[in-house]
Protein backbone atom coordinates (compact mmCIF):
# COMPACT_ATOMS: atom_id res chain seq x y z
CA UNK A 1 0.00 0.00 0.00
CA UNK A 2 2.87 2.36 0.73
CA UNK A 3 3.77 3.03 -2.90
CA UNK A 4 0.20 2.97 -4.20
CA UNK A 5 -1.29 6.26 -5.36
CA UNK A 6 -3.44 7.87 -2.69
CA UNK A 7 -7.17 8.05 -3.38
CA UNK A 8 -7.26 11.61 -2.12
CA UNK A 9 -4.25 13.78 -1.44
CA UNK A 10 -4.75 17.20 0.08
CA UNK A 11 -1.72 19.48 0.42
CA UNK A 12 -1.81 22.85 2.15
CA UNK A 13 -5.47 23.42 1.30
CA UNK A 14 -7.12 26.56 2.69
CA UNK A 15 -10.66 27.71 2.04
CA UNK A 16 -11.77 31.22 2.86
CA UNK A 17 -15.32 32.53 2.64
CA UNK A 18 -14.79 36.28 2.54
CA UNK A 19 -12.99 36.87 5.84
CA UNK A 20 -13.85 33.53 7.44
CA UNK A 21 -11.26 30.78 7.19
CA UNK A 22 -13.30 27.59 6.96
CA UNK A 23 -10.41 25.25 6.29
CA UNK A 24 -6.94 26.26 7.37
CA UNK A 25 -3.86 24.79 5.68
CA UNK A 26 -4.90 21.15 5.81
CA UNK A 27 -2.70 18.23 4.73
CA UNK A 28 -4.44 14.89 4.40
CA UNK A 29 -3.88 11.64 2.57
CA UNK A 30 -6.64 9.07 2.17
CA UNK A 31 -5.61 5.64 0.91
CA UNK A 32 -7.41 3.61 -1.73
CA UNK A 33 -10.00 1.31 -0.18
CA UNK A 34 -9.97 3.08 3.16
CA UNK A 35 -12.99 3.89 5.32
CA UNK A 36 -12.01 7.36 6.41
CA UNK A 37 -13.99 9.58 8.78
CA UNK A 38 -13.75 13.32 9.29
CA UNK A 39 -14.89 14.16 12.76
CA UNK A 40 -15.41 17.43 14.55
CA UNK A 41 -17.98 19.79 16.05
CA UNK A 42 -20.21 21.73 13.65
CA UNK A 43 -18.40 24.50 11.86
CA UNK A 44 -15.01 22.78 12.15
CA UNK A 45 -14.49 22.63 8.38
CA UNK A 46 -15.10 18.94 7.83
CA UNK A 47 -18.02 19.44 5.47
CA UNK A 48 -16.19 22.16 3.55
CA UNK A 49 -13.27 19.77 3.11
CA UNK A 50 -15.63 17.10 1.80
CA UNK A 51 -17.28 19.59 -0.56
CA UNK A 52 -13.87 20.55 -1.91
CA UNK A 53 -13.15 16.90 -2.71
CA UNK A 54 -16.55 16.71 -4.42
CA UNK A 55 -15.88 19.91 -6.36
CA UNK A 56 -18.80 21.79 -4.86
CA UNK A 57 -16.33 24.29 -3.41
CA UNK A 58 -12.95 25.24 -4.80
CA UNK A 59 -9.92 25.64 -2.50
CA UNK A 60 -8.64 29.19 -2.03
CA UNK A 61 -5.14 27.74 -2.13
CA UNK A 62 -3.36 24.43 -2.00
CA UNK A 63 -3.39 21.26 -4.04
CA UNK A 64 -6.05 18.57 -4.17
CA UNK A 65 -5.43 15.34 -6.07
CA UNK A 66 -7.69 12.36 -6.68
CA UNK A 67 -5.68 9.30 -7.71
CA UNK A 68 -2.78 11.52 -8.65
CA UNK A 69 -4.77 13.90 -10.82
CA UNK A 70 -4.93 17.54 -9.77
CA UNK A 71 -8.64 18.42 -9.48
CA UNK A 72 -8.50 21.68 -7.51
CA UNK A 73 -10.80 23.71 -9.79
CA UNK A 74 -12.41 20.92 -11.80
CA UNK A 75 -16.23 21.13 -11.69
CA UNK A 76 -18.04 18.33 -9.82
CA UNK A 77 -19.27 16.60 -13.00
CA UNK A 78 -15.67 16.06 -14.13
CA UNK A 79 -14.54 14.22 -10.99
CA UNK A 80 -14.56 10.45 -10.39
CA UNK A 81 -16.31 10.88 -7.04
CA UNK A 82 -19.94 10.81 -5.94
CA UNK A 83 -21.64 12.15 -2.88
CA UNK A 84 -24.35 11.01 -0.51
CA UNK A 85 -25.82 14.29 0.69
CA UNK A 86 -26.86 15.06 4.22
CA UNK A 87 -30.56 15.25 3.42
CA UNK A 88 -30.13 12.83 0.51
CA UNK A 89 -31.07 15.48 -2.09
CA UNK A 90 -33.12 12.95 -4.05
CA UNK A 91 -34.86 14.39 -7.10
CA UNK A 92 -38.49 14.62 -5.96
CA UNK A 93 -39.95 14.59 -9.47
CA UNK A 94 -38.27 11.34 -10.49
CA UNK A 95 -38.92 7.74 -9.55
CA UNK A 96 -36.36 5.73 -7.60
CA UNK A 97 -35.21 4.11 -10.84
CA UNK A 98 -34.75 7.46 -12.57
CA UNK A 99 -32.92 8.84 -9.55
CA UNK A 100 -30.51 5.93 -9.51
CA UNK A 101 -29.92 5.91 -13.27
CA UNK A 102 -29.44 9.70 -13.45
CA UNK A 103 -25.64 9.61 -13.14
CA UNK A 104 -25.29 6.89 -15.76
CA UNK A 105 -27.56 8.76 -18.18
CA UNK A 106 -25.58 11.96 -17.70
CA UNK A 107 -22.32 10.16 -18.40
CA UNK A 108 -23.71 8.89 -21.70
CA UNK A 109 -24.76 5.34 -20.88
CA UNK A 110 -27.75 4.36 -23.04
CA UNK A 111 -31.17 4.15 -21.47
CA UNK A 112 -31.57 0.37 -21.47
CA UNK A 113 -28.20 -0.32 -19.89
CA UNK A 114 -28.59 2.52 -17.39
CA UNK A 115 -31.93 1.13 -16.26
CA UNK A 116 -30.58 -2.37 -15.98
CA UNK A 117 -27.56 -1.33 -13.91
CA UNK A 118 -29.72 0.94 -11.76
CA UNK A 119 -32.08 -1.99 -11.19
CA UNK A 120 -29.22 -4.19 -10.01
CA UNK A 121 -28.00 -1.49 -7.65
CA UNK A 122 -31.52 -1.04 -6.27
CA UNK A 123 -31.52 -4.75 -5.47
CA UNK A 124 -28.10 -4.51 -3.84
CA UNK A 125 -29.42 -1.92 -1.39
CA UNK A 126 -32.50 -4.08 -0.80
CA UNK A 127 -35.09 -1.82 -2.35
CA UNK A 128 -36.56 -4.42 -4.70
CA UNK A 129 -40.04 -3.45 -5.79
CA UNK A 130 -39.57 0.24 -4.92
CA UNK A 131 -38.15 1.27 -8.30
CA UNK A 132 -41.34 2.94 -9.51
CA UNK A 133 -41.93 4.95 -6.36
CA UNK A 134 -41.24 8.61 -5.86
CA UNK A 135 -38.90 9.63 -3.02
CA UNK A 136 -41.73 11.07 -0.92
CA UNK A 137 -43.33 7.62 -0.82
CA UNK A 138 -40.30 6.17 0.97
CA UNK A 139 -39.29 6.12 4.63
CA UNK A 140 -36.14 7.91 5.80
CA UNK A 141 -34.12 4.71 5.80
CA UNK A 142 -35.26 3.82 2.30
CA UNK A 143 -34.42 7.30 1.02
CA UNK A 144 -30.99 6.85 2.52
CA UNK A 145 -30.55 3.64 0.52
CA UNK A 146 -31.66 5.34 -2.68
CA UNK A 147 -29.10 8.07 -2.10
CA UNK A 148 -26.45 5.42 -1.58
CA UNK A 149 -27.49 3.46 -4.69
CA UNK A 150 -27.63 6.63 -6.76
CA UNK A 151 -24.01 7.40 -5.89
CA UNK A 152 -22.59 3.86 -6.00
CA UNK A 153 -24.13 2.87 -9.33
CA UNK A 154 -21.58 5.15 -11.02
CA UNK A 155 -18.71 3.13 -9.56
CA UNK A 156 -17.01 6.19 -8.09
CA UNK A 157 -13.35 5.93 -7.17
CA UNK A 158 -14.16 7.66 -3.91
CA UNK A 159 -17.56 7.84 -2.23
CA UNK A 160 -18.20 10.94 -0.16
CA UNK A 161 -20.80 10.83 2.62
CA UNK A 162 -21.94 13.99 4.38
CA UNK A 163 -23.48 13.02 7.74
CA UNK A 164 -25.48 10.35 5.94
CA UNK A 165 -26.99 8.87 9.06
CA UNK A 166 -27.81 12.11 10.83
CA UNK A 167 -31.50 12.10 9.92
CA UNK A 168 -32.17 8.51 10.98
CA UNK A 169 -33.33 7.31 14.37
CA UNK A 170 -30.93 5.47 16.65
CA UNK A 171 -31.82 1.89 15.81
CA UNK A 172 -31.83 2.46 12.07
CA UNK A 173 -28.57 4.35 12.40
CA UNK A 174 -26.83 1.41 14.03
CA UNK A 175 -28.18 -0.92 11.35
CA UNK A 176 -26.95 1.35 8.58
CA UNK A 177 -23.52 1.65 10.23
CA UNK A 178 -22.92 -2.07 9.91
CA UNK A 179 -24.39 -2.12 6.45
CA UNK A 180 -22.26 0.76 5.20
CA UNK A 181 -19.18 -0.88 6.61
CA UNK A 182 -19.85 -4.21 4.90
CA UNK A 183 -20.82 -2.49 1.65
CA UNK A 184 -17.51 -0.67 1.71
CA UNK A 185 -15.59 -3.91 2.28
CA UNK A 186 -17.47 -5.59 -0.53
CA UNK A 187 -16.84 -2.80 -3.04
CA UNK A 188 -13.31 -1.94 -1.92
CA UNK A 189 -13.94 1.76 -2.69
CA UNK A 190 -12.67 4.49 -0.39
CA UNK A 191 -15.46 5.97 1.69
CA UNK A 192 -14.88 9.45 3.08
CA UNK A 193 -17.38 10.06 5.78
CA UNK A 194 -18.19 13.29 7.60
CA UNK A 195 -19.77 13.08 11.03
CA UNK A 196 -20.00 14.92 14.31
CA UNK A 197 -20.80 11.69 16.11
CA UNK A 198 -17.60 10.26 17.55
CA UNK A 199 -19.08 6.88 18.31
CA UNK A 200 -20.10 6.52 14.68
CA UNK A 201 -16.61 7.48 13.56
CA UNK A 202 -14.93 5.12 16.03
CA UNK A 203 -17.02 2.07 15.13
CA UNK A 204 -16.94 2.41 11.37
CA UNK A 205 -13.66 3.90 10.26
CA UNK A 206 -10.19 2.60 9.53
CA UNK A 207 -8.80 6.05 10.21
CA UNK A 208 -10.26 9.24 11.59
CA UNK A 209 -9.30 12.87 11.08
CA UNK A 210 -10.28 15.17 13.93
CA UNK A 211 -10.88 18.79 12.94
CA UNK A 212 -11.62 21.91 14.93
CA UNK A 213 -11.93 25.53 13.78
CA UNK A 214 -10.71 24.71 10.29
CA UNK A 215 -7.58 22.98 11.49
CA UNK A 216 -6.72 19.33 11.18
CA UNK A 217 -5.73 18.28 14.70
CA UNK A 218 -4.92 14.59 14.40
CA UNK A 219 -5.29 11.68 12.02
CA UNK A 220 -5.14 8.11 13.22
CA UNK A 221 -6.94 4.91 14.00
CA UNK A 222 -9.64 4.88 16.63
CA UNK A 223 -7.12 3.46 19.09
CA UNK A 224 -4.50 6.09 18.29
CA UNK A 225 -6.98 8.86 18.96
CA UNK A 226 -8.37 7.30 22.10
CA UNK A 227 -5.17 6.17 23.77
CA UNK A 228 -2.71 8.67 22.36
CA UNK A 229 -4.52 11.95 21.68
CA UNK A 230 -2.25 14.70 20.38
CA UNK A 231 -4.04 17.55 22.09
CA UNK A 232 -6.43 18.46 24.87
CA UNK A 233 -9.18 18.94 22.29
CA UNK A 234 -8.80 15.45 20.87
CA UNK A 235 -8.48 13.87 24.31
CA UNK A 236 -11.67 15.57 25.41
CA UNK A 237 -13.59 15.15 22.14
CA UNK A 238 -12.96 11.43 21.71
CA UNK A 239 -14.60 9.55 24.54
CA UNK A 240 -14.61 10.84 28.08
CA UNK A 241 -11.50 11.78 29.93
CA UNK A 242 -10.14 13.52 33.02
CA UNK A 243 -7.71 16.27 32.18
CA UNK A 244 -5.36 17.16 35.03
CA UNK A 245 -3.30 20.32 34.62
CA UNK A 246 0.40 19.95 35.50
CA UNK A 247 3.92 21.14 34.77
CA UNK A 248 6.78 18.95 33.61
CA UNK A 249 9.47 18.70 36.33
CA UNK A 250 11.89 16.33 34.63
CA UNK A 251 11.61 13.60 32.05
CA UNK A 252 10.01 11.25 34.55
CA UNK A 253 7.97 13.51 36.80
CA UNK A 254 5.22 16.09 36.61
CA UNK A 255 4.09 18.50 39.31
CA UNK A 256 0.39 19.03 39.91
CA UNK A 257 -1.11 22.40 40.84
CA UNK A 258 -1.11 21.48 44.54
CA UNK A 259 2.57 20.65 44.41
CA UNK A 260 2.16 16.90 44.45
CA UNK A 261 4.55 14.99 42.20
CA UNK A 262 3.46 12.16 39.96
CA UNK A 263 5.48 9.76 37.93
CA UNK A 264 4.81 10.41 34.24
CA UNK A 265 7.49 9.96 31.59
CA UNK A 266 7.38 12.98 29.31
CA UNK A 267 9.09 13.93 26.08
CA UNK A 268 8.45 17.59 26.86
CA UNK A 269 11.06 19.95 28.31
CA UNK A 270 11.02 20.78 32.01
CA UNK A 271 8.63 23.64 32.77
CA UNK A 272 6.21 22.85 29.94
CA UNK A 273 2.57 23.16 30.94
CA UNK A 274 0.83 19.89 30.15
CA UNK A 275 -2.43 18.13 30.87
CA UNK A 276 -2.58 14.54 31.87
CA UNK A 277 -5.41 12.64 30.23
CA UNK A 278 -6.78 9.81 32.37
CA UNK A 279 -9.65 7.75 30.98
CA UNK A 280 -12.29 7.07 33.68
CA UNK A 281 -12.10 3.30 33.15
CA UNK A 282 -8.33 3.15 33.71
CA UNK A 283 -8.54 4.51 37.26
CA UNK A 284 -8.97 2.25 40.28
CA UNK A 285 -10.45 3.17 43.62
CA UNK A 286 -9.56 1.70 46.99
CA UNK A 287 -9.37 2.48 50.69
CA UNK A 288 -6.53 4.77 51.71
CA UNK A 289 -3.37 2.83 52.35
CA UNK A 290 -4.43 0.04 50.03
CA UNK A 291 -2.52 1.40 47.03
CA UNK A 292 -0.23 -1.33 45.66
CA UNK A 293 3.42 -0.36 45.96
CA UNK A 294 4.03 -0.36 42.18
CA UNK A 295 1.33 2.28 41.72
CA UNK A 296 2.44 4.46 44.64
CA UNK A 297 3.92 7.08 42.30
CA UNK A 298 0.74 7.26 40.20
CA UNK A 299 -1.86 7.71 42.92
CA UNK A 300 -3.90 10.49 44.49
CA UNK A 301 -6.04 10.76 47.62
CA UNK A 302 -9.56 12.13 47.66
CA UNK A 303 -13.13 11.86 48.86
CA UNK A 304 -16.02 10.22 47.02
CA UNK A 305 -18.50 12.96 46.23
CA UNK A 306 -21.00 10.87 44.32
CA UNK A 307 -21.52 7.27 43.36
CA UNK A 308 -23.88 5.94 40.70
CA UNK A 309 -24.72 2.37 39.96
CA UNK A 310 -24.92 1.65 36.20
CA UNK A 311 -25.40 -2.10 36.30
CA UNK A 312 -22.24 -3.14 34.54
CA UNK A 313 -20.14 -0.52 36.30
CA UNK A 314 -19.96 1.99 39.14
CA UNK A 315 -19.28 5.63 38.33
CA UNK A 316 -17.64 7.61 41.12
CA UNK A 317 -17.00 11.28 41.26
CA UNK A 318 -13.85 11.64 43.35
CA UNK A 319 -12.97 15.12 44.53
CA UNK A 320 -9.31 15.74 44.99
CA UNK A 321 -8.46 19.14 46.49
CA UNK A 322 -8.96 21.27 43.39
CA UNK A 323 -10.38 18.90 40.83
CA UNK A 324 -13.01 16.23 40.39
CA UNK A 325 -12.08 12.93 38.77
CA UNK A 326 -14.53 10.62 37.10
CA UNK A 327 -13.82 6.98 37.79
CA UNK A 328 -15.59 4.06 36.16
CA UNK A 329 -14.98 0.65 37.67
CA UNK A 330 -16.42 -2.58 36.30
CA UNK A 331 -18.92 -4.18 38.62
CA UNK A 332 -17.34 -7.12 40.29
CA UNK A 333 -19.48 -8.49 43.09
CA UNK A 334 -16.68 -9.13 45.52
CA UNK A 335 -15.25 -5.67 45.13
CA UNK A 336 -15.81 -3.12 47.78
CA UNK A 337 -18.26 -0.30 47.06
CA UNK A 338 -17.86 3.23 48.37
CA UNK A 339 -20.52 5.59 49.61
CA UNK A 340 -20.31 9.37 49.14
CA UNK A 341 -18.05 10.84 51.81
CA UNK A 342 -15.70 7.88 51.92
CA UNK A 343 -12.05 8.79 52.06
CA UNK A 344 -10.34 6.90 49.27
CA UNK A 345 -7.23 6.66 47.16
CA UNK A 346 -7.20 6.41 43.38
CA UNK A 347 -4.39 4.96 41.29
CA UNK A 348 -3.68 3.91 37.75
CA UNK A 349 -1.17 1.94 35.79
CA UNK A 350 1.59 4.28 34.61
CA UNK A 351 1.09 3.09 31.03
CA UNK A 352 -2.52 4.28 30.93
CA UNK A 353 -1.99 8.00 31.40
CA UNK A 354 -1.12 10.25 28.54
CA UNK A 355 0.31 13.77 28.50
CA UNK A 356 -0.88 16.40 26.08
CA UNK A 357 0.91 19.71 25.76
CA UNK A 358 -1.46 21.57 23.43
Amino acid sequence: MADAVAAVEIRGVTKRFDEVVAVDDVDLTIADGEFFAMLGPSGCGKTTTLRMIAGLEFPTQGSLRIFGEEVGTLPPNKRPVNTVFQNYALFPHMTVLDNVSFGLRMSGVNKTEARQRAGEMIELVQLDGMAARKPNQLSGGQQQRVALARALVNKPKVLLLDEPLGALDLKLRQEMQTELKSLQRELGVSFVFVTHDQEEALTMSDRIAVMDQGKLLQVGSAEDLYARPASRFVADFIGQTNLIEATVADNNTIVLQNGQRLRAPSPHAAGTAVAMSLRPETIQVGARGSVPAVHEATSLEGVISSASYLGHSMVYEVSIDWIDLEVRTPMVLSEERFAPGSEVAVWWDRRSDWLVAE
Binding site: L56, P76, N82, N87, P92, D98, F102, M106, A151
Partner: protein, 278 residues
Protein backbone atom coordinates in the same frame (compact mmCIF):
# COMPACT_ATOMS: atom_id res chain seq x y z
CA UNK B 1 -78.33 15.43 21.67
CA UNK B 2 -75.69 18.10 21.59
CA UNK B 3 -73.59 18.83 18.58
CA UNK B 4 -71.29 21.61 19.65
CA UNK B 5 -69.43 21.82 16.33
CA UNK B 6 -72.64 22.51 14.44
CA UNK B 7 -73.63 26.10 13.86
CA UNK B 8 -76.99 27.17 15.20
CA UNK B 9 -79.74 27.87 12.74
CA UNK B 10 -79.55 31.65 12.62
CA UNK B 11 -75.83 32.00 11.91
CA UNK B 12 -75.97 29.13 9.43
CA UNK B 13 -78.65 30.86 7.45
CA UNK B 14 -76.72 34.13 7.52
CA UNK B 15 -73.59 32.40 6.29
CA UNK B 16 -75.48 30.94 3.36
CA UNK B 17 -77.02 34.29 2.51
CA UNK B 18 -73.62 35.95 2.67
CA UNK B 19 -72.10 33.39 0.31
CA UNK B 20 -74.97 33.80 -2.11
CA UNK B 21 -74.62 37.58 -2.07
CA UNK B 22 -70.88 37.44 -2.67
CA UNK B 23 -71.25 35.07 -5.61
CA UNK B 24 -74.08 37.13 -6.96
CA UNK B 25 -71.88 40.19 -6.75
CA UNK B 26 -69.11 38.36 -8.62
CA UNK B 27 -71.07 36.61 -11.28
CA UNK B 28 -74.26 38.59 -11.93
CA UNK B 29 -72.40 41.13 -14.10
CA UNK B 30 -70.84 38.29 -16.05
CA UNK B 31 -74.18 36.60 -16.53
CA UNK B 32 -75.71 39.88 -17.67
CA UNK B 33 -72.86 40.51 -20.07
CA UNK B 34 -73.19 37.09 -21.64
CA UNK B 35 -76.97 37.42 -21.81
CA UNK B 36 -76.97 40.82 -23.53
CA UNK B 37 -74.32 39.75 -25.99
CA UNK B 38 -77.09 37.62 -27.50
CA UNK B 39 -79.68 40.42 -27.41
CA UNK B 40 -81.17 41.59 -30.69
CA UNK B 41 -81.41 45.28 -29.89
CA UNK B 42 -79.19 48.22 -30.70
CA UNK B 43 -79.15 49.43 -27.12
CA UNK B 44 -76.64 47.78 -24.83
CA UNK B 45 -78.98 47.04 -21.93
CA UNK B 46 -82.26 46.16 -23.56
CA UNK B 47 -83.43 42.67 -24.38
CA UNK B 48 -84.72 42.27 -27.94
CA UNK B 49 -84.78 38.56 -28.50
CA UNK B 50 -82.04 36.09 -29.19
CA UNK B 51 -79.51 36.71 -31.97
CA UNK B 52 -75.96 35.82 -32.93
CA UNK B 53 -75.59 39.02 -34.94
CA UNK B 54 -73.09 40.62 -32.63
CA UNK B 55 -70.79 37.63 -32.86
CA UNK B 56 -71.22 37.68 -36.61
CA UNK B 57 -70.35 41.38 -36.55
CA UNK B 58 -67.33 40.55 -34.46
CA UNK B 59 -66.22 38.05 -37.10
CA UNK B 60 -66.81 40.50 -39.94
CA UNK B 61 -65.54 43.71 -38.40
CA UNK B 62 -62.01 44.22 -39.71
CA UNK B 63 -61.11 46.70 -37.00
CA UNK B 64 -62.03 44.27 -34.24
CA UNK B 65 -60.26 41.43 -35.98
CA UNK B 66 -57.16 43.58 -36.39
CA UNK B 67 -57.20 44.58 -32.73
CA UNK B 68 -57.65 40.97 -31.64
CA UNK B 69 -54.77 39.87 -33.80
CA UNK B 70 -52.53 42.63 -32.39
CA UNK B 71 -53.54 41.69 -28.85
CA UNK B 72 -52.71 38.03 -29.36
CA UNK B 73 -49.39 38.68 -31.06
CA UNK B 74 -48.32 41.21 -28.42
CA UNK B 75 -49.41 38.87 -25.62
CA UNK B 76 -47.59 35.81 -26.94
CA UNK B 77 -44.38 37.61 -27.84
CA UNK B 78 -44.20 39.64 -24.62
CA UNK B 79 -45.01 36.54 -22.55
CA UNK B 80 -42.31 34.43 -24.17
CA UNK B 81 -39.66 37.06 -23.68
CA UNK B 82 -40.69 38.10 -20.17
CA UNK B 83 -40.86 34.46 -19.01
CA UNK B 84 -37.30 33.82 -20.16
CA UNK B 85 -35.97 37.08 -18.69
CA UNK B 86 -38.05 36.83 -15.50
CA UNK B 87 -36.98 33.24 -14.86
CA UNK B 88 -33.35 34.13 -15.41
CA UNK B 89 -33.66 37.07 -13.01
CA UNK B 90 -35.29 34.79 -10.43
CA UNK B 91 -32.54 32.19 -10.78
CA UNK B 92 -29.74 34.69 -10.42
CA UNK B 93 -31.31 36.40 -7.41
CA UNK B 94 -32.23 33.20 -5.64
CA UNK B 95 -29.10 31.14 -6.30
CA UNK B 96 -26.26 33.65 -6.35
CA UNK B 97 -25.01 36.47 -4.21
CA UNK B 98 -23.31 39.09 -6.30
CA UNK B 99 -22.35 42.73 -5.98
CA UNK B 100 -25.48 44.84 -6.04
CA UNK B 101 -27.83 41.87 -5.96
CA UNK B 102 -29.97 43.46 -3.26
CA UNK B 103 -30.34 46.68 -5.21
CA UNK B 104 -31.20 44.69 -8.33
CA UNK B 105 -33.73 42.81 -6.23
CA UNK B 106 -35.46 45.99 -5.07
CA UNK B 107 -35.40 47.58 -8.53
CA UNK B 108 -36.87 44.50 -10.14
CA UNK B 109 -40.07 44.84 -8.14
CA UNK B 110 -40.52 48.55 -8.71
CA UNK B 111 -42.85 48.13 -11.73
CA UNK B 112 -45.33 46.33 -9.50
CA UNK B 113 -45.82 49.26 -7.15
CA UNK B 114 -45.59 52.03 -9.74
CA UNK B 115 -49.15 53.06 -10.74
CA UNK B 116 -50.14 52.22 -14.31
CA UNK B 117 -50.55 55.83 -15.31
CA UNK B 118 -47.10 56.75 -14.05
CA UNK B 119 -45.63 53.76 -15.83
CA UNK B 120 -47.46 54.79 -19.00
CA UNK B 121 -46.15 58.33 -18.89
CA UNK B 122 -42.61 57.06 -18.22
CA UNK B 123 -42.84 54.70 -21.14
CA UNK B 124 -44.20 57.36 -23.45
CA UNK B 125 -41.46 59.77 -22.50
CA UNK B 126 -38.82 57.12 -22.85
CA UNK B 127 -39.94 55.91 -26.26
CA UNK B 128 -40.34 59.44 -27.61
CA UNK B 129 -36.80 60.30 -26.56
CA UNK B 130 -35.45 56.95 -27.66
CA UNK B 131 -36.99 57.17 -31.13
CA UNK B 132 -35.60 60.69 -31.49
CA UNK B 133 -32.14 59.48 -30.59
CA UNK B 134 -32.49 56.55 -32.95
CA UNK B 135 -33.38 58.95 -35.74
CA UNK B 136 -30.67 61.47 -34.93
CA UNK B 137 -27.80 59.05 -34.41
CA UNK B 138 -28.54 56.12 -36.68
CA UNK B 139 -31.00 57.69 -39.06
CA UNK B 140 -33.54 55.01 -38.33
CA UNK B 141 -37.08 56.26 -38.61
CA UNK B 142 -39.44 54.43 -36.30
CA UNK B 143 -42.82 55.33 -34.92
CA UNK B 144 -44.64 54.04 -31.89
CA UNK B 145 -46.44 50.83 -32.70
CA UNK B 146 -46.28 47.09 -32.28
CA UNK B 147 -42.65 47.10 -31.05
CA UNK B 148 -43.14 49.74 -28.40
CA UNK B 149 -46.31 48.09 -27.11
CA UNK B 150 -44.58 44.71 -26.89
CA UNK B 151 -41.53 46.20 -25.17
CA UNK B 152 -43.62 47.92 -22.52
CA UNK B 153 -45.62 44.76 -21.87
CA UNK B 154 -42.34 42.88 -21.42
CA UNK B 155 -41.18 45.59 -19.03
CA UNK B 156 -44.09 45.25 -16.64
CA UNK B 157 -44.44 41.45 -16.96
CA UNK B 158 -40.86 40.54 -15.98
CA UNK B 159 -41.39 41.52 -12.34
CA UNK B 160 -44.51 39.39 -11.99
CA UNK B 161 -42.94 36.36 -13.65
CA UNK B 162 -39.86 36.67 -11.52
CA UNK B 163 -41.87 36.90 -8.27
CA UNK B 164 -43.84 33.75 -9.08
CA UNK B 165 -40.78 31.77 -10.18
CA UNK B 166 -38.79 32.88 -7.17
CA UNK B 167 -41.45 31.68 -4.77
CA UNK B 168 -41.14 28.27 -6.37
CA UNK B 169 -37.33 28.34 -6.34
CA UNK B 170 -37.19 29.35 -2.70
CA UNK B 171 -39.00 26.14 -1.80
CA UNK B 172 -36.47 24.07 -3.69
CA UNK B 173 -33.22 23.14 -2.01
CA UNK B 174 -30.00 24.11 -3.82
CA UNK B 175 -28.73 20.66 -2.81
CA UNK B 176 -30.64 19.19 -5.73
CA UNK B 177 -28.66 21.11 -8.31
CA UNK B 178 -25.43 20.18 -6.55
CA UNK B 179 -26.48 16.54 -6.49
CA UNK B 180 -27.18 16.67 -10.23
CA UNK B 181 -23.75 18.12 -10.91
CA UNK B 182 -22.17 15.57 -8.63
CA UNK B 183 -23.86 12.94 -10.82
CA UNK B 184 -22.03 14.18 -13.92
CA UNK B 185 -24.65 16.64 -15.15
CA UNK B 186 -23.30 19.82 -16.69
CA UNK B 187 -24.78 23.07 -15.43
CA UNK B 188 -27.16 23.13 -18.36
CA UNK B 189 -28.23 19.52 -17.82
CA UNK B 190 -28.73 20.15 -14.11
CA UNK B 191 -31.02 23.04 -15.03
CA UNK B 192 -32.78 21.11 -17.79
CA UNK B 193 -33.47 17.88 -15.88
CA UNK B 194 -33.69 18.99 -12.26
CA UNK B 195 -34.30 22.72 -11.78
CA UNK B 196 -36.63 23.34 -14.72
CA UNK B 197 -39.05 20.45 -14.10
CA UNK B 198 -39.29 21.49 -10.47
CA UNK B 199 -39.97 25.16 -11.16
CA UNK B 200 -42.27 24.50 -14.13
CA UNK B 201 -45.46 25.17 -12.15
CA UNK B 202 -43.96 28.55 -11.23
CA UNK B 203 -42.92 29.27 -14.80
CA UNK B 204 -46.33 28.30 -16.17
CA UNK B 205 -48.03 30.37 -13.49
CA UNK B 206 -45.80 33.32 -14.33
CA UNK B 207 -46.48 32.93 -18.05
CA UNK B 208 -50.19 32.84 -17.44
CA UNK B 209 -49.98 35.96 -15.34
CA UNK B 210 -47.94 37.72 -18.02
CA UNK B 211 -50.39 36.64 -20.72
CA UNK B 212 -53.36 37.89 -18.73
CA UNK B 213 -51.67 41.18 -17.84
CA UNK B 214 -50.78 41.76 -21.47
CA UNK B 215 -54.27 40.93 -22.77
CA UNK B 216 -55.85 43.17 -20.10
CA UNK B 217 -53.69 46.23 -20.26
CA UNK B 218 -55.35 49.42 -21.41
CA UNK B 219 -53.58 52.34 -19.81
CA UNK B 220 -49.95 51.70 -20.73
CA UNK B 221 -50.81 50.34 -24.16
CA UNK B 222 -52.86 53.38 -24.99
CA UNK B 223 -49.93 55.67 -24.29
CA UNK B 224 -47.33 53.78 -26.29
CA UNK B 225 -49.38 52.42 -29.19
CA UNK B 226 -49.51 54.02 -32.61
CA UNK B 227 -51.55 53.60 -35.73
CA UNK B 228 -52.18 49.94 -36.52
CA UNK B 229 -51.14 48.70 -33.09
CA UNK B 230 -54.44 49.04 -31.25
CA UNK B 231 -55.06 46.09 -28.97
CA UNK B 232 -58.50 44.71 -28.25
CA UNK B 233 -58.97 46.31 -24.78
CA UNK B 234 -57.85 49.67 -26.13
CA UNK B 235 -60.27 49.28 -29.02
CA UNK B 236 -63.13 48.44 -26.68
CA UNK B 237 -62.27 51.43 -24.54
CA UNK B 238 -62.39 53.56 -27.69
CA UNK B 239 -65.77 52.12 -28.68
CA UNK B 240 -67.28 53.16 -25.38
CA UNK B 241 -66.24 56.73 -25.94
CA UNK B 242 -67.62 56.78 -29.45
CA UNK B 243 -70.99 55.50 -28.42
CA UNK B 244 -71.85 52.11 -27.17
CA UNK B 245 -72.99 49.25 -29.33
CA UNK B 246 -73.78 45.73 -28.10
CA UNK B 247 -70.76 44.64 -30.16
CA UNK B 248 -68.82 45.51 -26.99
CA UNK B 249 -70.71 42.79 -25.16
CA UNK B 250 -69.74 40.16 -27.68
CA UNK B 251 -66.10 41.29 -27.69
CA UNK B 252 -65.99 41.19 -23.89
CA UNK B 253 -67.48 37.72 -23.78
CA UNK B 254 -64.83 36.50 -26.20
CA UNK B 255 -62.06 38.05 -24.08
CA UNK B 256 -63.53 36.38 -21.03
CA UNK B 257 -63.64 33.06 -22.82
CA UNK B 258 -59.97 33.39 -23.80
CA UNK B 259 -59.01 34.04 -20.17
CA UNK B 260 -60.95 31.00 -18.96
CA UNK B 261 -59.33 28.79 -21.61
CA UNK B 262 -55.92 30.05 -20.49
CA UNK B 263 -56.56 29.22 -16.84
CA UNK B 264 -57.86 25.74 -17.64
CA UNK B 265 -54.95 25.08 -20.00
CA UNK B 266 -52.41 26.01 -17.36
CA UNK B 267 -54.04 23.70 -14.84
CA UNK B 268 -53.98 20.83 -17.33
CA UNK B 269 -50.34 21.48 -18.18
CA UNK B 270 -49.35 21.51 -14.51
CA UNK B 271 -51.14 18.25 -13.81
CA UNK B 272 -49.80 16.41 -16.82
CA UNK B 273 -46.22 17.19 -15.94
CA UNK B 274 -44.00 14.27 -15.14
CA UNK B 275 -40.25 14.51 -15.17
CA UNK B 276 -37.56 12.21 -16.34
CA UNK B 277 -34.29 12.79 -18.14
CA UNK B 278 -34.82 12.13 -21.81
Amino acid sequence: MSRPAQLRRGPKWLLGANATLVYLFFYAPIALLVLYSFSDDNLVGRWGGFTLDWYRAFGQNDEVQGALSVSIRVAILSTLISVVLGTMAALSLERYRFRGSRIFDALLYLPIIVPDVTMAVMMLLFFTQFLNVLDAVFGIQMTKGFTTVTLSHIAFSISFVSIVVRARLAGMSADLEEAAQDLYASRWQAFRFVTLPLITPGVVGGALLALTLSLDDVVITQFVSGPGSTTLPVYVFGLIRRGVSPLINAVSVIMLAISIVLVVASLVVQRARGGEPA
